[in-house]
């Protein structure tokens, strides 16, 4: 059977690449911000897959990558908020 860490790890690789490709491809700022969030989710998925490896033998999976990804989720949403605010300001100055 295919282990879960390989399935989800490769899903992470897929999400990372398609997010990155879309970030480069799109013209609209909002679409780019959305795509970079998908890209980040792929990175998180790879991290947590590595943490999960061999978890059947352990009481809990490796908590260190979990803590890093938790930090990452919160930082990603703050960065998204800042990027959206920058985008709004840009549009407002373009309208003037």
């Amino acid at each position: 059977m295919l282990p879960a860490e390989i399935i989800f790890g490769l899903t992470g690789v897929g999400l990372f690449t398609l997010g990155l490709r879309a970030t480069l491809l799109h013209g609209s700022l909002l679409a780019r911000i959305l795509a970079i969030n998908v890209c980040g989710a792929g990175v998180f998925l790879m991290f947590v897959s590595i943490a999960y490896q061999g978890a059947a033998a352990m009481p809990v999976p490796d908590p260190v990558p979990h803590a890093l990804v938790l930090t990452g989720i919160v930082v990603a949403v703050s960065a998204t908020a800042l990027a959206l605010a920058l985008g709004r300001r840009l549009r407002e100055s373009a309208d003037e």
């Binding site: 999400l15 997010g19 609209s28 795509a35 998908v38 947590v48 809990v60 930090t71 703050s78 800042l82």
Partner: protein
Amino acid sequence: MNALLWTLLDLLLAAMLLGLGWAAVATRDLKRGVALFIAFGLLLALAWARLRAPDLALAEAAIGAGLAGALLLAALRDEPRHEKLAAAHSRAGLWTLNLLSVLLAVVVAWALLCALEMGEGLRLAGAVTDHIGQSGVSNPVTAVLLNFRAYDTLLELAVILSAVLGVLALGPARRGYGLPGPVLGGLIRWLVPLLIVTAGYLLWVGAHAPGGAFQAGATLAAAAVLLRLGGVDRAGLPAAAVSRWLLAAGLLVFLGVGLSLAGLGYGFLQYPAGLAGGLILVIESAATLSIAVALALAYVGGWSRSGSTQPDSTQGGSH
């Protein structure tokens, strides 16, 4: 049989994640893309639960899918006209990009498989399990965040603070929402107190079970988002002067505890035995309030104009 069933479920979840992720970034309609992204975040929370990371599942559902989705939707509302999604690309450029993407995917997949192949390698999981008794909490993720790698979390709070200061510096609040209909209004009256109680529970339970400051802060921020959608322009935030202090409280308390311990000769953020649990709870409580205020302010988009309680008043115009 059991293993086969697990694999099938894993493959199904993975395929849905990839499909939703693809659809969210490939669609020509931004509104659709954001809706798909929220669904993607919820499925990602399921994937975290599957990979035995319940702390992440809680955070993803509240922050990744919930607040990020709310932020994107609010930004979408500001969008005056629908911009063209894809910039014009030449055929050759598109093919080069596709080729490079596939190459990158192969290289990263190879690196990941090599890392998985290495097996246990150098892991810190053992060190965490060995020392968790001295950390003051029994949830390993909280122990890593607030004790073993407390520097990371301290600096993370600084990152959140600077991001929100950036948002605040860039302009006034977005225009507010009108008064809700009876159904949404009733729902908000029920949900907001429930969310506040849940946040308190998550903060307390984080010491020994999945939960903690980030999840609790995000839940409080969700209550603020709901209030704003219900026509409360300030989203339940206290006056600006108080909000400013709350915004900085997490970082200040964290630094204060660290420096006091350094002054007492324990070393920066080296908690003395016996006091660790209490100190972590103090830091987490302050961090919860800061994270909640930060995320709520990020959603509101800036300080509300003073005294303006009229929804959809003059705030929408170009400034």
